[in-house]
Amino acid sequence: MTKYILKRIGMAILTLIVILFLLFILLKLMPGSPFNDEKLSVDARAALYAKYGLDQPIYVQFFKYLINVIQGDFGVSYNISKNTAITVLIGNRLWTSIRIGFQAVTFGAIVGFLLGTVAAIKHNTIWDSLCTLISVIGVSIPSYVFAMFLIYYVAFKGGVFPLSYSESDPFGSSILPTLSLSMFTIASIARFTRSEMLEILDSDYMLLAESKGMYGAKLIFRHAIRNTLIPVITVLAPLIVGLMTGSLVVEKLFSIPGIGSLLVTAIQSNDYNVVIALSFIYSLMYIVIMLVVDILYGVIDPRIRVAKEA
């Protein structure tokens, strides 16, 4: 088991370095320069290039970049906040994004799971139809569209929740963003849980347990749910990634000071260093999540652990 984990971690680190290199090459291919080109003369631009070390050969620049990244220095932002170290920019925002993302995932997973379970148990009743309806809507409409409607109808017209995120009310003002982001998760997990649960409820060992005299909640919890959890966890990982995408626009709409809105701003203002740094952070998060899910998977399902060790 340990060997497996170590191997996976080693692979992850190698991947990260390759990713960093690819990102760096892409950075160099971006059009224009990081500076406010319109107002600068040719000489001024050349001087700025020299100052930031942008006139040296590629491999020299990459090497310097790599060393810096290992020490936690991603360079400075040129546009969003001049001369500010990118790590400082990302610092506070990362925590906000992770917090809201975590809220969305947990909320989405729990609600989705409950919804799917109830729908499976009360198969072909009104609950089942309700679950299907929610899944249908959640899967076919992007999270930012939900956000748009929630902002207008619930926050503005209804006045129930604040219109945009504010630091003074971190929980209350994050309810609508969490809701928008979690719709897709709820829908996917509900649907998936329902089909898995139906299959399990139909299976032989459930029939056996029931005939032994087990019924109701005890039956469901002890047997059905534990076995449904495994495939659900597998599905969760790509959903978390989907959350990353959705969060970009949702953060922009709600004025949330997170890395998603930072990335959108960086893209639109062509602050390439920030784009690269954030891309790297997203890749890092993705790899870490995949790693955790892989390991978790091995822990929960003994069959996989055994198979991998073989």
Binding site: E38, L48, S166, K252
Partner: protein, 552 residues
Amino acid sequence: MNKTMRKSFLAVVSIAAVATIASCGEQETTTSKYLNVSINTGVESLDTQVATDGTSFEVMANYIEGLYRVDGDGNAVLGMAKSVDKSTDGKTYTFTIRDDAYWYTSDGKQYAPVTAQDFVFGWQRGDSPELQSEYQFMFTDVALVKNAADVYAGTKALSELGITATDDKTLKVEIDSPVSFFEKLMYFPTFYPVNQKFFESVGGTDGYGTSPEKSLSNGPFMLESYAPSAVSFSLKKNSGYYDASKVAIDEVNYKVYQEDSTAYLAYKNGDLDIAPISGELVDSNKSSSEFHSVEAGYLWYISLNLQDTAHPEIANEDFRKAINLAIDRQAICDTLLKDGSVAAEYAVPEQLATGPDGKDYRETASTYDYTEGGTKTAKDYMDAAKKTLGKSTFSLALECDNEASSVAEMIQAQIQSTFPEITITLNPKVKKQRVADMQNGDFEICLTRWGPDYADPMTYLGMWKTGNSNNYGLWSNAKYDQLIDDCTDGAYATDTTARWAHLKEAEDIVMDEAVIIPVYQKGDSYLISDSTTGIEFHSVALNRVFRNVTKK
């Protein structure tokens, strides 16, 4: 209860009653006035010699004041300087700094008096080769400070820059040639003072202005909360400001709303006192008392690559004039933009600069009418062009920023419907790519804009001088160059009236030769709550000034 107890009981009650009534009276005098404003993009920097964008300038001007400040009508008014003595040749200014001007730290404590040395340090820094400030050209090309070019090139020491502190409160500035709008330059943040001791104590360029604790204030407000790229931050009133009694706002709260629609909803909800609107929202709010429209400085125009050998029609003056007449600017402003933008058929915007006659430049400048009173039409020009070129069909690529694609689409439709023989393809690009293309001469015609750096027509007219790095069309006219030079630091530099007249002459050349095709001058429309009065708008340097705002 016996008598003594009753007496003491009554005594206690009455004392309590008096105390309550007294404290009630005190409470009534403490209701804070908040001003909630929105901005479209975050602050890029709060370092006066580093920032380059309007938002940063606006925020900095709230809490730092320069030699001059700007009043509601756009005039430069003495700020940190209590008096000024200008030499007869206009090349030396001697400023006396106010005695009651002090620097305050964000916790409200007085740090040091504002001295002439602070200005010297700020300007030297702005022109220094090691800072490489993007607005360094203000010292060399605009303010014409003595030795600025040499100092920047490194051939002379910083101390040789034409600004010296003869004593703590006396500042001497030497410029190479008289600049008629010099006073107006002084409220531009690049010229603001920096207290050297404080600057170095907070880590120099890396730390200065990155948090309230690392900034000083000598203006009407001071930073209360801020971090780089913050989505919301605030300023509070600086009670030590020499004119604090006239500042009626206690706190200014900024918030970044990237989507105008969310800002509008926030405004309607009461979370904002001012919100920008455009398009259809203008139509539905036009009649309200909350609607305000101001002219901004940006001039949107089509730049033409006159050296494009693959498209010789661009170099043909008749062709350019034909295209100019094919564009229906009024329709663009009235049906698409609706934000107070106005049709522009000139090269220098309105309400940019006031002349020595006290009037806005545009009021006394020429109007350009290619139809010559209705005698010539677009078709006439086009026919003439076709004859000279020997071509009857044309195909051009119109480049523009992604954000400007709607306007570009309208222009494309208008040109193609007037002249079916012209095919226009649209090339919307990311702004950096568009700028890069123009700099490399890799374009045919391009919809672009220019915002003024200072309140003088030269900020536009200077662009079309031969060799200017913004002369992307590569137009060259010796007479024009001569006029520009004369107006900058040559024959007309000292005579403000003559200069003004010759600036108009220069504009005539640009427009007569149709070097650019102006489209519209940007306007900004806002909804301002009825309880808020006194927000001052400007088209140059400082977008909005909140110093004189009052709230009911």
